[in-house]
């Protein structure tokens, strides 16, 4: 079998070069991803070898078999309201990144009333779980009001905030037996505080084939060598085109409807 496991090298290099000039990153904040050559396809063979979410995570939570909505889609928003989000560059037609982020979120929230939504934010030095996952009009109103109230100020504890979001998603995954969808949507410019580089968490989630959390970044000119703009691990959407977010969240293909004799050999599929 001639399988190309590391197919991303040329694409990734081109991507890095194109994005590198947009935003200067300090070495410590870069959250630099590993080189593309280290990113294999998802090892499907390992799916059955580990259990996600961890069974011991929350033993008293019911499994999907007794849950009412085992296929619910869950979106945990991590909203960066650090000081750098008050900057005007990379915010398109908006006054600053903070405003661009809020408008992108409002548009997205209004279009997705059926999904579970939660919010973690950091602003003015506080990391807060503003809303655990939930749905319904009242819940959405609370999320929107929380977002409105946030002001860009102080540091960027990205890793801590994303860890809270990960925990919320895994609790919900335990309730749903790992079924449904789990998305962590990080709205940020990527400038993490010292010690808050999210790269380890990104790798932990993305490199475990059984971990079904999708990582999404709505970014403000985040460089291509940043962990949150790593096409091998993260779905990246520019904050200046928030309408792309919904499309990016939805795409799946399903089962093949036909058996095409021209693609029956692995060698041919690999070309």
């Amino acid at each position: 079998m001639n399988i190309t496991k590391y197919r991303h090298l040329s694409l990734a290099l081109a991507s890095s070069l194109a994005l590198a000039g947009c935003f200067g990153e300090e070495e410590d904040n870069s959250g630099s991803a590993v080189s593309r050559a280290d990113l294999p396809d998802v090892a499907v063979s390992r799916l059955g070898q580990s259990v996600w979410p961890p069974i011991s995570l929350d033993q008293d939570l019911p499994f999907a078999s007794v849950g009412t909505t085992p296929f619910a889609e869950n979106n945990m928003i991590v909203l960066d309201m650090s000081g750098s989000m008050g900057e005007p560059d990379c915010s398109g037609d908006y006054a600053n990144r903070s405003e661009a982020a809020k408008q992108a979120l409002f548009a997205w929230l209004s279009a997705n009333p059926g999904d579970n939504v939660g919010l973690v934010s950091f602003s003015k030095g506080n990391i807060e779980l503003n809303s655990p996952l939930g749905r319904g009009e009242s819940h959405s109103t609370n999320v929107v009001n929380s977002i409105k109230s946030l002001e860009p100020k102080d540091g960027t504890p990205l890793l801590s905030a994303m860890t809270i979001a990960r925990d919320e998603l895994e609790k919900q995954a335990a309730r749903q037996g790992g079924l449904g969808a789990y998305r962590m949507i990080v709205i940020t410019d990527g400038e993490a505080s010292r010690g808050q580089n999210p790269a380890p968490l990104v790798r932990e989630i993305a490199d475990n084939p059984s971990n079904m959390i999708e990582l999404h970044t709505i970014g403000f000119c985040i460089g291509g060598n940043h962990a949150l703009n790593d096409p091998g691990r993260v779905f990246y959407t520019s904050a200046t085109s928030p309408e792309d977010l919904r499309a990016g969240l939805d795409a799946t293909q399903g089962e093949a409807n036909s058996f095409d004799a021209s693609t029956i050999s692995f060698e041919e599929l690999s070309q």
Partner: protein, 545 residues
């Protein structure tokens, strides 16, 4: 009013199973004044009869209830036998008009008992099922998959289990009926599987894997027990045709007494007032075997009045008629009998015989902790799931299909329901798989990045789980339509997505289907009966009533 004989069976009469059943023994007619003598063999169920003779605290259960419907009391004796086979001469000579047998034994005995009208067997009472008392031992094998095309040793008392396992193997194994399967299994070059009593199995396997020391067999291990296959080996009581014709009122009264004895035994066992020392003396011939007697009792399950009625209803899934018919079909296939043999079924009206039963229902509670069972299966590797599979049924479907109409899948659903009944102590996992061809095209032709790949994997798992849920609902509808009662706690849902491809893996990705047929077969739902005997937390306690 009752008398008990503990007879050491004549060694010559214990010579062998099938040979013992085929030896020439004198036949004598029963008379109307023939004494009612209940035979006992060394099984857990016979603790009930032994306890029913206990008169230490007052009149025994037998004394209190052995009366005809017109109020005439009659004597009931009991007689212990060292084995099922040892009863035959006494039965044919009408020393005991009753005989304890299993369903398969009835067919094996037919050439002796059905040769003359007087000794024809009429089943009158169903004691219940083996539930842990019997074990399948394998040497140098780890799962039942290896039974296919292989060979298995059994005695006649456990033949029903051998026949069931043979029918569930992809290729029928040879069934060798021998006197002492444990002894035969210990011989060099013996068959790799044997069915023995669970205590004998523990000796052969040294409690884990046999080493060859202290009676164990090197490499022997327990494969499954009747804890999983808990609707296979059943104990029943038959009566001679001539006695039944001459004394139907005594037969009815005896059955009524046994029904009451079962109920009272359960109550006394709960109150811990059953004298197991005395029971061991009567059933096993040695009061010192009290602990063995307790173990035997814990390895069986009685069925109550409702179970008696179900057993006597020909259309029920595990009725006398269903068991005998299926067993005989397999016995013919295995060359154990030449052709099917007509056997009478239960003829009594059990509902009317249960007047004295305090609780006529059999309370059905969930047998499994469904969440724990689901978690345990999800934690298994593909190899572990295969290794623990006792039986399976597969159905195929079209791409992205979500509905499973009964008209198309009825046969498979019925087969799966039957297996869930046979292996009622195993979990019925509805395992759904999705096709991976589209995934492979996306990864290898369209260049999906890993995040897109994971999303598709999750989506296909959701699709397969939704499919498994739809199949479960259809299965339950089918069971209702067929009049089956199904323990829904026995069913677990397992959406596997693309993680167990038919063709295995090629460098961590599913190997692409080589043919259109393989592609079609990759979209499959497998009903899999999985033995969970090592997962104690999966079981809820047996029913109490």
């Amino acid at each position: 009013m009752f008398r008990t004989f503990i007879l050491a069976a004549n060694a010559a009469l214990l010579a062998s199973v099938t040979p013992a059943f085929s030896q020439d023994t004198p036949v004598r007619d029963c008379r109307a004044d023939t004494e009612v003598t209940l035979p006992m063999v060394p099984t857990g169920h016979d603790a009930i009869v032994a306890h029913a003779t206990d008169d230490l605290m007052g009149p025994s259960i037998i004394d209190r209830f052995s009366k005809t419907e017109t109020g005439d009391a009659f004597d009931v004796a009991t007689r212990g036998f060292e084995s099922y086979e040892a009863q035959l001469p006494a039965y044919l000579a009408c020393e005991t008009p009753f005989m304890r047998v299993t369903h398969a034994q009835m067919s094996l005995l037919a050439d002796q008992t059905q040769a003359q009208n007087s000794t024809r067997m009429i089943p009158v009472f169903f004691y219940g099922w083996s539930n842990g008392a019997d074990a399948v031992i394998g040497r140098g094998v780890a799962s039942l998959q290896a039974l296919s095309g292989s060979a298995i040793l059994t005695d006649s008392a456990r033949l029903d289990l051998a026949l069931q396992l043979a029918s569930d193997a992809s290729q029928s194994p040879e069934i060798r009926v021998v006197d002492d399967p444990a002894a035969a299994f210990s011989q060099p070059g013996a068959a790799p599987f044997a069915i023995v009593s669970t205590p004998r199995g523990e000796v052969l396997t040294a409690g884990d894997v046999g080493t060859g020391a202290e009676g164990s067999v090197n490499g022997a291990r327990e494969i499954i027990t009747t804890t999983s296959a808990n609707r296979v080996n059943g104990d029943l009581l038959v009566v001679r045709s001539d006695f039944f014709e001459q004394s139907p009122e005594k037969v009815r009264a005896t059955v009524r007494t046994l029904l009451k004895a079962e109920e009272l035994f359960r109550e006394d066992a709960k109150k811990q007032i059953v004298d197991f020392t005395r029971t061991a003396e009567l059933v096993l011939g040695d009061p010192a075997l009290e602990d063995d007697m307790r173990d035997l009792w814990s390895g069986v399950e009685t069925v109550g009045l409702a179970g008696q009625i179900e057993w006597a209803t020909p259309t029920a899934a595990r009725s006398f008629r269903a068991l005998v018919n299926a067993g005989q079909t397999r016995m013919v296939e295995a060359g154990l009998i030449d052709q099917a043999i007509p056997l009478a079924g239960p003829e009594l009206d059990y509902t009317s015989l249960g007047d004295d039963i305090w609780d006529k229902r059999r309370v059905q509670t969930s047998s499994f902790d469904q969440d724990a069972a689901t978690a345990a299966i999800q934690a298994m590797s593909n190899e572990e799931i295969t290794g623990n599979t006792i039986a399976e049924v597969t159905i195929l479907f079209e791409p992205n299909q979500a509905a499973f109409p009964l008209a198309i899948y009825r046969k498979e659903f019925e087969e799966a329901l039957q297996k869930s009944k046979v292996y009622a102590g195993g979990v019925l996992s509805i395992e759904a798989h999705a096709s991976y061809l589209g995934y492979l095209r996306g990864v290898l032709k369209q260049g999906w990045e890993p995040p897109r790949q994971k999303r598709e994997i999750a989506s296909l798992r959701n699709t397969s789980t939704a499919r498994a849920l739809a199949v479960r609902d259809a299965l339950i509808s089918t069971s209702n339509e067929l009049g089956f009662t199904i323990d829904e706690s026995q069913i677990t849902i397992n959406g596997r997505g693309i993680e167990d491809p038919l063709g295995g893996f090629c460098n961590d990705l599913p190997c692409p289907p080589k043919t259109e047929q393989e592609w079609r077969e990759s979209r499959r739902v497998v009903f899999r009966v999985i033995g969970m005997e090592s997962e104690a937390e999966v079981f809820t306690p047996l029913n109490d009533w």
